[in-house]
């Protein structure tokens, strides 16, 4: 320090300096107080709020999906099960270079080049922290390739998940249904909380109808994660409750027989036990592979399936509505006898056609039957006999009687999306036609209703149920497919039992006998429409039916285009005196009932015989 300062100057400097130091100390206290106030604010006043945010940062609640209940046939054969499938998933925010990673995956042969833009589009629409599936159903080789390259595939992971598998393939497709992605519509059916961590829900048939039984209750897992979402620890775990297994009334042997005998055809087979309403077999053809649909079809695959003219997804057994044709004849014969329109001694001469006054053209029969009584009319399916009975009964009495067989009404089978068919009368026509002229009921319409043609429609299930009413002589049990379910893992089975429903209890037994005779003769006597199709002296009662798709004077032949050929129908039951099985068959565009439907029914009955019948649970 070069320059000398006087004592006075030093004192003055000191005083100024100390003054400012004092001021600075004050500033320090104020700023320090500010910091401490801020800390108290954050760490005392806001601590609860910020602690919660700290917990939210690190705790992830994850659902553990419950395995879905299995579905068995009545003999505990597996119809639907869960199978692990491996899929590649990606969390977009964890991927460094999306484009490069995807290109790398194509180089490894795991992805196709044309999938890249689709995936990028999905990434754009997705939450960046949410995992998206980029490839389903990886095979072992692809898993191995991934494992070898995982260091280069940051953000990609292979997850296994249980997928629905239907080991019997197409055979049970329409009954058991399939699974599909959960859509917002599905949440209207069920509480979304059951579906946390799940991708799929039952979309049709049993899978949909018994969704609440099959799904189980998901478990919960609280995980400690770091900033990159890596799981560091499991904090809490709440186990899942598996879905309940269910057993169906179906018999795989009968189901398989129905499927195989309908191979290559369109149509449906329904077999049920008239003693309890259990559905033993239910087939709709063509069918589809429910496993493939549940795994997720590509849009084009789905369009192909959905746009298929033969409508494989459509369950003809419950939603296919067909003119029942001559299969209504046993019911109408019973009605005619009961109403006194005909009696057992009455013989009608059939000359092959039926004339109405004021109608220029006669109503044709498919053959000339000569002199026929009720039994013979059923046996040989004489149209003229039923034309005349129909006119005598009139449409109102006729439709009222047919409705007693539950036609025109849903059977309320536990499968959903059932159609109710149609039994027309004058009121129905008034209400369902636009123009005044069309609202009138014409006598000619009564005539063709007598042979199950015209407006009349029935589903295969309705025909089977009506046949049960015939077989039991007036009563039946509500049809059902669920046999038992093991609720909440307790092995105690809850059997589902149907209430007996009386439909027609005041018919004279001798009229029933006549109808049964006629239906037996269909199968076992010469000139019976199904004679020769079944083994001789089968203990089976049946009725064929042929419903016209396209009105033509000439009968069907091989030169007809297939889609214009008649539908073949057959209904039947066995044994005649103590019926245990009812079968209804419809073969679309298969030609007549004898050629198309009766052989299918025959296979069902002989399989049933071969199995030695079906044991019935003792009801109380």
């Amino acid at each position: 320090m070069g320059n000398f300062k006087t004592k006075q100057t030093q004192e003055a400097e000191r005083s100024v300096f100390l003054n400012r130091i004092l001021f600075s100390s004050l500033a320090i206290l104020i700023l320090g107080g500010l910091i401490i106030t801020r800390l108290v604010y954050l760490m005392v006043i806001q601590t609860d709020d910020l602690s919660l945010r700290s917990i939210n940062n690190t705790l992830r609640t994850q659902s553990i999906p419950a395995p879905r209940g299995l579905i068995y046939d009545r003999n505990n054969q597996v119809i639907a099960e869960n199978k692990p499938k491996f899929q590649m998933e990606m969390i977009p925010e964890q991927v460094n270079e999306l484009q490069n990673s995807l290109v790398y995956l194509t180089e490894l042969g795991i992805l196709n080049e044309n999938e890249i833009p689709i995936i990028q589009e999905r990434v754009r629409k997705n939450y960046q922290f949410k995992s998206i599936v980029i490839k389903r159903d990886l095979n072992e080789k692809e898993i191995a390739i991934y494992a070898n390259n995982r260091m280069l595939l940051k953000g990609f992971d292979i997850k296994s998940r249980l997928t629905r598998n239907y080991p019997q393939g197409e055979i049970y497709a329409h009954v058991v249904g399939y699974m599909g992605s959960i859509s917002s519509n599905d949440f209207q059916r069920f509480d979304p909380s059951f579906y946390t961590g799940k991708e799929q829900i039952g979309k049709s048939a049993i899978e949909r109808e018994y969704e609440h039984v099959l799904r189980g209750i998901p478990g919960k897992q609280k995980l400690l994660v770091n900033v990159r979402g890596r799981v560091m620890d499991e904090v809490e775990k709440e186990a899942f409750t598996s879905g309940n297994n269910i057993v169906l009334t179906l018999n795989s042997e009968l189901q398989k027989t129905a499927y195989e005998s309908m191979a290559g055809k369109k149509g449906s087979v329904v077999a049920m036990d008239p003693r309890n309403g259990e559905i033993l077999a239910m087939i709709s053809m063509p069918s589809f592979d429910p496993t493939a649909i549940s795994l997720g079809l590509s849009q084009s695959e789905f369009n192909k399936l959905n746009g298929n003219k033969k409508r494989p997804l459509f369950n003809r057994a419950i939603a296919g509505q067909y003119p029942p044709g001559s299969t209504v004849k046993p019911m109408l014969a019973l009605g005619a006898l009961d109403m006194g329109v005909v009696d057992s001694d009455y013989y009608l001469p059939c000359e092959g056609e039926f004339k109405l006054p004021n109608y220029s053209r006669p109503f044709g029969d498919w053959a000339t039957h000569g002199s026929v009584n009720t039994k013979r009319a059923i046996q040989a399916s004489c149209d003229v006999y039923f034309y005349e009975s129909a006119v005598e009964m009139g449409i109102e009495r006729m439709s009222a009687f047919l409705k007693k067989f539950n036609l025109g009404e849903k059977t309320k089978l536990d499968l959903g999306s059932e159609k109710e068919g149609l039994v027309p009368n004058q009121e129905w026509k008034r209400n369902n036609f636009e123009s005044k002229q069309n609202q009138n009921w014409y006598l000619g319409e009564t005539v063709i209703a007598g042979i199950g043609q015209g407006y009349m429609l029935a589903t295969p299930l309705q025909l089977a149920y009506a046949t049960s009413i015939i077989a039991n002589r007036g009563y039946a049990y509500k049809p059902h497919i669920l046999k038992q379910m093991n609720l909440n893992g307790i092995s105690e089975a809850s059997h589902t039992q149907s209430q007996r429903i009386d439909h027609l209890m005041n018919i004279d037994e001798k009229y029933w006998d006549i109808v049964f005779d006629g239906m037996n003769a269909v199968v076992n006597e010469q000139r019976g429409t199904a004679y020769g199709v079944f083994p001789k002296n089968s203990d089976i009662a049946g009725k064929t039916g042929t419903s016209q798709v396209f009105s033509m004077d000439k009968r069907s032949g091989d030169d007809m285009p297939e889609e214009l050929r008649d539908h073949g129908l057959f209904i039947g039951f066995a044994p005649i005196n103590n019926p245990e099985i009812v079968v209804a068959v419809i073969v679309e565009n298969g030609g007549g009932g004898r050629v198309a439907a009766a052989p299918v029914a025959e296979k069902m009955f002989s399989k049933f015989l071969e199995l030695g019948g079906i044991k019935v649970a003792q009801s109380n």
């Binding site: 400012r20 500010l34 910091i35 709020d49 945010r53 700290s54 690190t58």
Partner: protein, 372 residues
């Protein structure tokens, strides 16, 4: 009042420590802070022993730098100050033209080793201003004020342009505080403040977009919680969730699970707050206040103007370091990238900071420049 302050005696003057020019209270405080630093760094590095070891080595070297710095006399510092300042200025100009650019900032120069010349100004600036002003007398006349301001703003502007807002503010402060302590007239002070406020829009335009972003984020961090606001939000969560007593050492989820970024450097205070709570951080603040208080006491007890001004500048700048760092981690101030003194991991910055504390010791323990 003033006379009473004078009579406070600093006890260590005659002891053994004084012989080797160590101020024992300061030394104890520094060692305490270093211990806290080791504890915090171990936690912030996810219990990395390798990281802790290299940090302990750095602390050791810094303490050594402090002890070495304490050995030189105040006279030496007074003489060397202008040269040190000049060299720093030349280096800063060199940085401006030939500097190394990392992360969009040109702060480094490479002469054998890479270093930031701005760090050395943290030592040079208080010394040179103290030296300049002490060579005249106070209160300052206008010429001296202007000259001091030029000395302060020349390097500040160069550092500001690098850009390094945090360092330039601290360096400007370390110079300006001496002008303030030298009794600048209050009306000048107010005019300067008004002038500064008037210039704010102009300053806003000259700072970098990322710096503007920091200020905007400071004003409303929740606007972009995953982007610009992320640091400050996570820091506040860490501090607030610590509560009164903290989550315990190595148990802070914000730190241990990597939610808190930059936690070994700028945001180490948040780690301490999360794991040791309000009680813990108040104790740490107490250590800091003790160091600042001790520094100011040394300043008061110095007999010559140079020592007084240099010591008080070092102490007050130290306080501003602490204030800015805690202020920014708690969301009181924008994030300007100032480490927490003695605790944050840091290379040159902790080194120069310790050296300045060494100078503080030197000012206190050496023979008087001017005998009483």
């Amino acid at each position: 009042m003033l006379n009473r302050i004078e009579t406070w005696q600093v006890q260590s003057k005659e002891g053994l420590m004084s012989q080797i020019h160590i101020d024992l209270p300061l030394m104890i405080a520094v060692l305490l802070a270093s211990t806290v630093s080791a504890i915090a760094i171990f936690s912030a590095s996810n219990s990395s022993e390798a990281f802790l070891t290299s940090h302990l080595i750095r602390i050791g070297l810094s303490i050594l730098a402090m002890i070495v710095a304490a050995q030189f006399s105040p006279l030496f510092y007074s003489r060397v100050a202008p040269w040190l300042y000049a060299i720093c200025l030349v280096l800063l100009i060199a940085v401006f033209f030939f500097g190394e650019t990392r992360n969009n900032a040109t702060r480094w120069i490479h002469i054998g080793i890479s270093f930031q010349p701005s760090e050395f100004l943290k030592i040079a600036m208080p010394l040179v201003i103290a030296k300049y002003i002490a060579s005249g007398s106070i209160p300052l006349n206008n010429t001296n004020i202007m000259a001091s301001l030029v000395l302060v703003f020349l390097p500040t502007a160069l550092i500001f342009k690098q850009p390094d807002l945090g360092t330039s503010i601290l360096i400007a402060f370390s110079g300006l505080v001496i002008v303030f302590l030298s009794g600048i007239k209050k009306r000048y002070l107010f005019s300067a403040i008004i002038l500064f406020l008037g210039c704010l829009p102009f300053i806003w335009k000259t700072i970098h977009p990322f710096q503007q972003q920091r200020v905007l984020t400071f004003l409303d961090p929740e606007k972009d919680p995953l982007g610009a606001g992320y640091h400050i939000i996570q820091s506040k969560i860490a501090i607030g969730s610590g509560g009164l007593f903290g989550k315990g050492w190595l148990n802070g989820t914000q730190g241990q699970l990597d939610f808190l970024p930059e936690r070994t450097t700028d945001f180490i205070f948040s780690i301490l707050a999360e794991e040791f709570g309000l009680v813990g951080v108040l104790l740490i603040i107490l250590i800091y206040l003790f160091i600042v208080g001790r520094g100011l006491l040394i300043a008061i007890n110095s007999d010559d103007l140079f020592s007084r001004l240099a010591a008080s500048s070092i102490s007050l700048t130290f306080f501003i370091y602490v204030f800015v760092n805690i202020g920014m981690t708690t969301g009181l101030l924008p994030v300007v990238g100032v480490p927490l003194p003695l605790i944050s991991k840091g290379g040159t910055s902790s080194f120069t900071l310790m050296a300045s504390l060494g100078i503080l010791m030197s000012l206190h323990t050496h023979k008087r420049l001017i005998p009483r």
